[in-house]
Symmetry: C2
Subunit: 332 residues, 2 copies
């Protein structure tokens, strides 16, 4: 993916740090400095940052940095960004677009899809970060298991997950889902003061390691939970079937359609959420797995697969992260 | 502030939950449901949410909720949103603006300033939430003090702040700043593996309580630190002068200009950041305090004031949150 096919300069804006940082800015600059602008050209990078953030930027970025102020930013942009200007229309605000249009006129093109597709194929260094994020999340899920007791509340378990994140020097990649009993029927449940009881506990959880995410779901059983265990076992089987078949599928759409059939075969009602999604700097990124997608599946993609079943009394979900290699899919 | 002066319907979009939630959406809906649209009219509210989030929305929102899908969302919007449509051009992406323009044509107006000004004046219930956020942050800063020892690193203190947040059932309102010695010269320093040593430790920290933020800065001294203590004492005096004078100032610009003079009077070099900012659902919100601002200061505003001095070897900052009442400013 050559993002310079359509333009000579790409402008990326990072307003907020950390959780709200711009993923394209993180990806292309390798640093997280707030209120900054990255000017990306085919053979060079330039970071504009307020004077106040200069030393922070200096400690993180290995390329050229210039301090800007509200007074000189227009002039710097005009001087540094010539030719067609590429912006991510999905992440840039309409107000900022209008301001940039005043500077650059009609020479602005949308790079949202190109930037997304570029991040969909990971380098081995990036995959190794995701691998570590998966490893730590699995370790935390292992450590949380002995804590799950019927008298504890969902919120207490969420708190313990957060403490384990601090212990392991990572942050959650999204607000953890802890759903007990009936609450597991809601795929996006927010932890409540409900006690776990003698029932199923669904935990959807991941961590961020060096800006890269993992995203896993496990179900635990604090009682007999026969029906729940049975459905969970089917979810695991569905995932296994998908993993072993990915190598034969050509597009994200093929994967979505194969998954629909696998889900039906095991008696699951059709999914109320997609079967999965790309994982990287963002916990949900390209590829999107929907029936009509023509996006080719390629080596270097990392995909979360999450077959689930949601009934009136409970729901189950099993989620793993896969790396697509030349010949197959590998569980991370 | 009547946001319906310019339009008949306001559309607010919440894509991400928690830290990245849309502050206007939180403010007007009172709930935090991801992938949702709030249709706001003068006398009614309607929440559109994906089927998957319906039960979550039901548990949080007390007004009408409709499940939408990618198939029917256009039709629902066309039916429910008639007349001039108000959007926040500062928070809506350019891509979404273009999609909405296809539906609503030219009948779209920018409400970014109106929505911001509306949130600048807090109700007593909102101020009470900020008060609690300030109280908890002050308590945490009190609890962290005995932990500050020369052999600990900035990152270790950041970790302890995070643990104290979990203990007090809040989250940080922004990534905490812990800056020891020379690092305190950088107003936006990110905690590093540097040991605190026998030097100044600047901590800029706040918490979120029921969606409302606090934002405080304190300096601690692990040694003689004579110069540092002296400068910090001046910062405190400057803040005191500002607080006792706010009642006589009419606009945000007046406050900025008065502060510049106060800072100079105490021998501080001119500020490299603004003297403060509004605090509410966002840690930085209206009013902005800059010299040319004509925005009137009004009762119900909550403002962080943060005089600072930054030299080569160290920096200091003292930050408090004030409520503007009819006659004066009250420290929260």
């Amino acid at each position: 993916m050559d993002i310079f096919k359509k333009c000579s300069v790409v402008l990326l804006f990072n307003d907020e740090p950390y959780e709200s940082a711009n993923p394209d800015f993180l990806y292309h600059s390798g640093c997280d400095v707030d209120n900054s602008i990255l000017i990306l050209k085919k053979n060079s990078k330039l970071l504009l940052t307020p004077k106040m953030n200069y030393s922070k930027a200096k400690s993180q970025c290995k390329f050229k940095i210039v301090a800007y102020s509200s007074k000189n930013v227009k002039e710097i942009l005009k001087k540094e960004a010539k030719g067609k200007i590429g912006l991510n229309f999905d992440s840039i605000s309409h107000a900022r677009f209008l301001r940039l249009k005043k500077i650059f006129g009609s020479g602005i093109v949308d790079l949202s899809e190109d930037l997304l597709l570029l991040r969909a194929i990971k380098t081995s260094a990036q995959i190794s970060k995701i691998k570590t994020a998966v490893k730590i999340a699995k370790q935390i899920l292992k450590e949380i298991e002995p804590s799950l007791s019927p008298s504890k509340t969902e919120i207490e378990i969420e708190k313990e997950l957060k403490l384990l994140c601090i212990k392991h020097k990572v942050s959650p990649s999204f607000p953890p889902i802890v759903a007990a009993g009936k609450n597991s029927s809601n795929p996006h449940h927010s932890p409540s003061s409900k006690k776990l009881g003698n029932s199923i506990v669904l935990i959807d959880f991941g961590v961020k390691y060096q800006n890269y995410c993992s995203d896993l779901t496990r179900c635990f059983f604090l009682g007999k939970c026969e029906k729940e265990r049975e459905k969970y076992s089917s979810a695991k089987k569905i995932l296994k079937e998908i993993v072993s078949s990915v190598a034969n599928l050509k597009t994200a759409g093929d994967l979505a359609n194969f998954s629909s059939l696998a889900v039906q075969k095991h008696g699951f009602s059709s999914l109320i959420h997609s079967i999965g999604h790309g994982v990287g700097i963002e916990v949900h990124e390209s590829p999107s797995l929907y029936s009509k997608s023509k996006q080719p599946l390629k080596p270097g993609m990392v995909i979360a697969i999450e077959p689930g079943w949601y009934g009136k009394d409970f729901g189950v979900r099993f989620e793993e992260n896969l790396e697509l290699t030349k010949k197959r899919a590998v569980l991370l």
